[in-house]
């Protein structure tokens, strides 16, 4: 299951140079994502205070918190990838011989890179449309939608970067394929 939760598995090896830089960027993303979640806790509590204690109506809070959560998810993607926190089924990889396992790891990482690149390209278009047409949300707050939509290309772009670094680490032998330490089960 989740690679980091299985006792047979270990975290990534020592990385240097650009791989280290990518890791650092992803860690920063983790901080940003965690901060966004914390801010949403604060805003939601403030919203409840305004509504139930001050008896006033709230305008921007629900929307802000929702967009913060979306952004926290997208910006958090590369960090969770770095921690190997995206849950996967590693039953078959565990049963394979190491060379086949490595080939499969290279294949799955490459396909992942393609799909994430696709999401990046179309995500950029999605954002660009909102920006060039100056779309606004149809609420009282009327937030300019290119701001929350920006999280799409940024999140998938950074996830792409982390995936490319992970692929390079498997190619160079720095990372074990699927981070599996055992020879075979």
């Amino acid at each position: 299951m989740a690679s980091d939760e299985n006792s047979n598995l270990s975290g990534p090896g020592e990385r240097t140079g650009w791989l280290q830089a990518v890791d650092a960027i992803s860690t920063l993303c983790g901080w940003v994502s965690a901060t966004m979640i914390l801010i949403s806790v604060g805003i939601t509590c403030q919203m409840i205070f305004v509504r139930f204690v001050l008896n006033q109506s709230t305008i921007w809070q629900t929307e802000a918190v929702t967009f913060l959560m979306v952004a926290a998810t997208l910006i958090g993607l590369p960090y969770v990838q770095k921690l190997r926190g995206h849950v996967n089924v590693d039953l078959i990889p565990l049963m394979l011989r190491p060379p086949v396992r490595k080939a499969l790891a290279l294949f799955t990482l490459s396909v992942s890179i393609i799909i994430v690149a696709l999401m990046l390209v179309y995500g950029f278009e999605f954002w660009h449309t909102a920006w060039s047409r100056n779309w606004k949300s149809d609420t009282v707050w009327g937030v300019r939608l290119w701001i929350p939509y920006l999280a799409m290309p940024v999140g998938f772009g950074l996830l792409l970067l982390q995936l490319v670094a992970d692929l390079a680490a498997v190619v160079t032998g720095l990372d074990k394929p699927f981070n599996i330490n055992k020879e075979s089960r």
Binding site: S40, T44, I48, V70, V80, L91, V116
Partner: protein, 438 residues
């Protein structure tokens, strides 16, 4: 191509992709994009980001990270051990009080944390060594905690139930209530089996209690009560109609963090960051799967697969209970390999229309589905709880943990059968508190 045939191909491809070791969320995106590209043309891919974003753009999803923060901040403290100790001190006169305390602590901790692995780790760290020291068989000690931990996804607040509520657009509050009585039923079954197995193995001495003074009993309460109060407060706010699940969860998260900092002295920035990091990791993982599963179900319906399967099942004219049996087997197998959240997100949009048209209650079905997922948590090959127990009690072999857990799987199957015989076990409480579902 016939949508049904397409559905069959899709099922095979999805299984192959998910078993390749790719992460579940990315796998769902790969399958969705591939099928849309082949059967609907390249233009349909342009919609993917909008659907992905749209799935996340939902205030109800806020409750997921909030309940996760609640659970992570409680799990980072000694609260689990305190809870277990308090129950042990208060239940000394009950035969087999220790294993009962452990299972009770699992149920209560599950109610506070909403996470199965966290429950296992928090109660097991102290409970398993203590049970072994007092002569309980290893299988009972490990199995009871592994099984007790699975209650995390059934007893409210449960992240799994929230995900089901979002995937099927059912009421989260009602889902939470539906899990209460089945949760208590499971705890009771677990307790009965543990006592019987301990008695059967001849460890009768282990069943006799120790004695504690009233002073010892009362002095532990202040450490346990704050979290219990928060949970009761959260549930009251939700069912008293004061606020939505997301809002109450946010207040709960803030209060749990505050209690962890003030009472359990969790004020080092490093420890706080650990709590936040774990919460962020789990939330992002789940939310990514939710968004990807949203894209997946969009693909299913735009290729008419969902509709065709529902229509096809409708023409089969099978007995609803045969259908429910087949669905249970499917869920059980899926749960063996995939995390509960992924199973629910992929299966619920397809299964729910079928289940409802066969005359079953969606809230009852949520409970049955969740118990199926609980079984997956203590059975190989994935069996997350087994590995958690293996991690905290390395001196007990994985085989003993597994064999010790199997009777608890039987308890869960009995619970599912009881729920089939008496659906009101799940539906009575929500109906009583919130009125009949419309």
């Amino acid at each position: 191509m016939d949508p049904l045939f397409l559905g069959a191909i899709l099922a095979v491809v999805t299984v192959l992709v998910l078993f390749s070791g790719v992460s579940v969320a990315v796998g769902l995106l790969i399958v969705s994009a591939g099928f849309l590209l082949i059967f609907d043309g390249a233009r349909s891919l342009q919609l993917l980001p909008e659907i992905f974003f749209g799935k996340l753009d939902n205030f109800a999803l806020l409750s997921i990270p909030m309940f996760i923060i609640m659970g992570a901040s409680i799990a980072s403290t000694r609260a689990g051990a305190d809870l277990y100790e308090a129950l042990d001190r208060w239940l000394t006169r009950v035969p087999g009080g220790l294993v009962i305390s452990n299972l009770g602590a699992c149920a209560l901790f599950a109610a506070m944390s909403g996470s199965s692995p966290a429950t296992c780790a928090a109660i097991g760290k102290m409970g398993i060594p203590e049970m072994r020291k007092r002569g309980y068989p290893d299988g009972v000690a490990a199995g009871s905690i592994a099984a007790g931990g699975t209650l995390g996804i059934l007893i409210p607040p449960s992240v799994t139930m929230i995900v089901y509520g979002i995937a099927t657009e059912t009421s989260i509050g009602r889902l939470f209530l539906a899990g209460v009585i089945p949760g208590l039923l499971l705890v009771t079954l677990f307790m009965m089996w543990s006592l019987y197995d301990t008695w059967r193995s001849g460890a009768v001495d282990a069943l006799s209690g120790r004695s504690f003074t009233w002073k010892q009993r009362f002095e532990i309460l202040p450490r346990v009560l704050p979290f219990v109060a928060i949970i009761l407060g959260v549930l009251y706010a939700m069912y008293g109609g004061l606020a939505t699940p997301s809002e109450t969860a946010a207040v709960g998260a803030l209060m749990c963090l505050a209690v962890a900092i003030v009472i359990y002295k969790l004020w080092s920035p490093k420890l706080l960051w650990d709590v936040l990091r774990d919460s962020t990791r789990e939330s992002v993982m789940i939310l990514f799967i939710i968004a990807a599963a949203g894209v997946f179900s969009y693909m299913l319906s735009s290729l008419f697969i969902t509709q065709s399967i529902a229509a096809w099942i409708g023409t089969l004219d099978v007995n609803p209970w045969v259908l429910m049996f087949a669905i249970n087997i499917f869920l059980l197998i899926a749960g063996f390999f995939l995390p509960p959240v992924a199973v629910i997100l992929m299966a619920a949009p397809i299964l729910l229309p079928i289940v409802i048209s066969a005359g079953f209650d969606p809230y009852w079905f949520a409970v049955v589905l969740t118990i199926n997922m609980e079984i997956g948590l203590i059975t190989p090959p994935v069996g997350l709880n087994l590995y958690v127990i293996n991690g905290i009690a390395p001196e007990i072999s994985l085989r003993t943990i597994l064999v010790g857990s199997l009777p608890f799987v039987a308890c869960m199957v009995i619970a599912i059968l009881l729920l089939c015989l008496m659906p009101s076990l799940a539906t009575w409480l929500p109906d009583y508190i919130m009125g009949q579902a419309i």
